[in-house]
Amino acid sequence: MTLTGALLSHYRRHPLQLAALALMILLATMLWSGVHQLTGQARDSLARAEQSLSGGREAVRSDGQPVTVDDFVRLRRAGVCVMPWLEVPDPDGPGRLVGIDPLAGQCLVSDSHSGRAPALDGDPFVDIHRAATVSAATPVDSPLHLIVGESPGPLPPGYESAPFQRGPDTGELGRSFLLNLDALGALVLMITALLLRAVYRLGQAQRETSFVLLARYGVPDRVIRRRLVLEILLLSALCIGPGVWAGSALARLLGNGFGASLEGLFDLPLYAGGTDWLTPALVMTAVVVLACVSDLLVPARCRAWLDRGGRSLWPGVILAAVGGAAVLVVSGLAATFAAVAVVFAGVGLLVPTVLSHLADRLAARGVDELRRWRWRELGVMARRLALPVVALQFTLALVLAVQALVASFEQTFEGWLDQRLAADWYLDVPAGADAGPAADWLAGQLAGVDGAAWHRIRRGSATVASIGADDGTRASHRLDLLAVAPIGPLLTRWHLLASADRPWDALARGDGVMINEQAARRFGWVIGDRLRLGEAAPGAATDGLPVLGVYADYGRPEGEVLVAGSRWPAGQTPSFEGFAIEPGTADIDRLIDGVTRRWGGEAPEVQENRAIRASANAVFQRTFVLTRAMTLLTLVLAGTALLVMGLVFITSRAWYFRLLRAWGLSGREVFSQLLRLCLGLTLGVALLALPLGIWLTWVLVGRINPEAFGWSLPMAVYPGFWLELLVLSALIGLGIAGLMRRSLAREATS
């Protein structure tokens, strides 16, 4: 038999081990490279949206109508250098394509003295004809932009230039969101490394005797080591390729939802990007090699020292304490994540040691021999299965925390939707129609009707500036403006995050404004701060309006100011106008009919509460689809690994179980011992994961979420879900025991 054959014979005898290793590498590569690709693409989009277009301007029509190809021609024929910009969804994958006309854009290049023309390089830029073809084939309307460069000069009458911005200034939030995902990805990678190492090392332990045998036959140690490194490299090469491919498939699958949530949450368009194969392939190879064969690269003396260190409780305690303290004091997402990583490392060192100490102590105290034996065995398991045990604990903690985050998010969102969508019917006023007479008519119709409520909604934007204590005006910001009249029960049901005394009455009188949480956080405005809406008229009083309340406003990045209808700026045309109607005992069809007649017969868009709610929920679901998919897959990974590990481990302890038979226990009694042992281990891990999970929930909700999303959440725990996880752990334990029983039975017969 050749040396290669001798070395590989191990996997012939244990094909499951090889399959487990391959599957884990494949799954982990898929998971991580998928996430890496999406976040990379998003980060790229962010950078492009921020840098390539910073300072850029576009030509818009003064009448507010969207620009068309006719406007392009009109501007070009007037001598203005404009380039068309048409964003469309990429038909071949997630993200967007940007169609440009390089012929028209050529003047932007030559006009740019500083050389800072928009960086229109490579993906996602395509010829605008292709974008227009895609646009024609998609039902979604793709608006055309006309880029005029940094200093376009005067435009012909009927046009003005406006900053070309791909959304509000939410770059930081978007970046944090991506960092969140990346951190999750890193955690998945870490867990995978632990699991891989565990399975691999167990295999190595089994192969120890064959290595000794080979050494006796005169094969030098270093040759064996080299072969082992080669073996793992080969395995990586075979699994990582398909893994990266599956990763891009995963990215494509999740990409649209991911893109939609990025856009919904941060107004950050996800542009189509190329696939980066190399980074995931290299990183995964490095992880696999480090996890599996790093021992071979570390001198034996250091290894011994590390092994001794593993027995002590102190390194773990110190790491966990330092990390925990750091989470409390550091600011910034990256630092928080680093602190969390330190805590995880500490806990990872601590848990197997604590488990085995605990088991040994219990064993020492027990009187029943079988029980003492069981505790001892559990202690051995905790030590020998330290890596997969820690990995399972981390995974469970992660799953628990993410679930708590998503669930509390969901709950908060639900509650918020309930407040926001208090009315049963929503009518959009057609463009150009006068909503005033309809409002008056509606007020007359619904006055005194049982259970009826309504209000008129106007949306637009306004320049808002805060006024300092010195009466000086601070920097102004362009915010969304929401005007509601009358202020009634549909509105006063809103839960306010902070409020002044009797805020709704003051708002109704026009004695103040309310702002959404995004605006409050971004500009640091608090209750009582005075805000001025609109440009300051010369000589006008500048005392502004006090902030009366801060309301939650999920699912979008823009800051918003809420005012009473009477505070709507005179002469400003709303960008949206509508009615919210809770008809009570009145007939909604009659009301719609009456309203329609008031503005000349053009039928309004009527939306039912349920439809709006469904679409809002769809947006919400998309936000967490990636997070959920990741945690779920990680759990599957960890569960599978523990199953395989437990099986391999207990096979190595089969001798002890057969000893139990020799002591006179029946097969059923031996299995019962086995079952208790396995359940004890997995349930113990799950119980230990609980505090870590709860702590991680707090970190996510209390520390990371406000930084990543711009709004905070109430922290909630979900014991029902803990129970589910415990049941899952028990099932894993049962699985190990079941597999063990078969393997013991097989060995007994052979």
Partner: protein
């Protein structure tokens, strides 16, 4: 003859499939434009940086090829020819200022078709931003040894660039040549930057009907039959203003207008051309060109007497000899038409008159001396750094 936009079938295909640009901006936009207009980078290097056209021989990609039987039709031939691949409208003017100083003006607009279309076929809708043709315009002013030049690009069928036969109009952005009255045209060109910049507003009075070049308008460009449809307006009175760095100059003089279209001009191996259009003092006109080849150059021209019919000139009847070089360009020439007793020297004024666009080429006014006097224009293409 005008610079031909280089294009290959491959590029047309990639342009049609939707182009993706791959390099950093400057490069990116430019490379896309180049891809659209110039053909693949591979033959860029092979043919040098000059204008030498490499309209590859053989397949014209569904475009029509002109021949001696094609014939000219007016006024339709003032308009575009979408069944042919390349065409241009070209005007040069030898003007003088109120102070009597010579001033040269050039304006050219090119159309490069990517897909042939019959004239009765409706163009694709503009909101699809079709890519069936690209337009390029060149504007230049030569004055007191200074040469100013600007290049414009546009996509066809969108509306920002185009041409119509009647009433005659050719435009790209805010540059336009249009008929304002019978036999009267107006040309407006304004560079994007005011300083250093240029512009001109010229009124053109057409004094002579179109003159067909070559064989009833078919101008051969090689012995093997490649060629183009070509006619000229050789007697144009021009008046108007030229603006240089914000300063307005009253100008007047004479102009030469060319219309030329084809799908395949040159045979492979031709490196560039030397082209001359001369107004001689007694009203006679001379058009002459030479296509340079590794072997024997192809020489052709037309003698246009003031009162008679144009006479095509073959290489036996016309000699072109470069006499002096400046910056690699032959700036002084001897032109001989023995049958007409013409033996003249054509000289560019001091200065560097290179249109530094995508394809640099020499375009300068010239002074005629020898046994006849006069003025004219000279275009020299395909003289790159590596050229002969």
């Amino acid at each position: 003859m005008r610079p031909v936009l280089r294009i290959t079938e491959r590029v047309v295909a990639s342009a049609r499939a939707g182009l993706t640009v791959r390099h950093r901006l400057m490069v990116a936009l430019w490379s896309l434009v180049l891809a659209l207009l110039a053909g693949c980078s591979g033959d860029d290097g092979a043919s040098g940086p000059g204008l030498a056209p490499t309209l590859s021989g053989g397949d014209a990609g569904g475009f029509l090829q002109p021949g001696p039987d094609t014939g000219l039709r007016f006024p339709a031939d003032f308009g575009p020819h979408p069944r042919y691949r390349v065409e241009w409208w070209y005007l040069t003017a030898n003007l003088t200022t109120a102070e009597g100083e010579p001033l040269g003006v050039q304006w050219t607009q090119f159309r490069q078709g990517f897909r042939p279309r019959s004239p009765d076929q409706a163009p694709p809708p503009a909101d699809q931003w079709p890519l069936e043709a690209a337009w390029m315009a060149h504007g230049a002013v030569s004055y007191q040894g200074q040469h100013r030049f600007e290049e414009r690009l546009a996509r066809g069928d969108v509306g920002s660039a185009g041409a119509v036969a009647e009433p005659f109009e050719v435009w790209l952005d805010d540059w336009q040549l249009q008929q304002v009255a019978p036999r009267r045209w107006h040309l407006t060109v304004r560079s994007r930057q005011a300083e250093p910049g240029f512009g001109y507003d010229l009124t053109l009075t057409l004094n002579r009907p179109p003159v067909p070049q070559g064989d009833h308008g078919f101008s051969a460009k090689s012995a093997s039959g490649q060629g183009s449809m070509y006619f000229s307006l050789v007697d144009i009175r021009i008046e108007g203003t030229v603006t240089l760095d914000g300063k307005r100059l009253q100008v007047a003089g004479q102009g030469w207008f060319d219309r030329e279209w084809s799908s395949q001009f040159l045979k492979q191996g031709q490196q560039g051309w030397d082209w001359f259009a001369q107004h001689l003092d007694d009203g006679d006109k001379l058009m002459a060109f030479r296509l340079r080849d590794a072997a024997e150059p192809f020489v052709s021209g037309t003698w246009i007497p003031a009162g008679g019919d144009p006479q095509p000139l073959t290489d036996a009847e016309l000699t072109l000899t470069p006499l002096e070089r400046r910056d690699g360009y032959p700036v002084r020439w001897r032109l001989q038409v023995p049958s007409e007793g013409v033996d003249i020297e054509v000289t560019a004024p001091p200065g560097r008159y290179v249109n530094d666009g995508r394809f640099p080429y020499w375009e300068s006014p010239v002074r005629v001396s020898g046994n006849r006097a006069g003025v004219g224009y000279m275009e020299l293409t395909g003289y790159g750094a590596t050229d002969d």
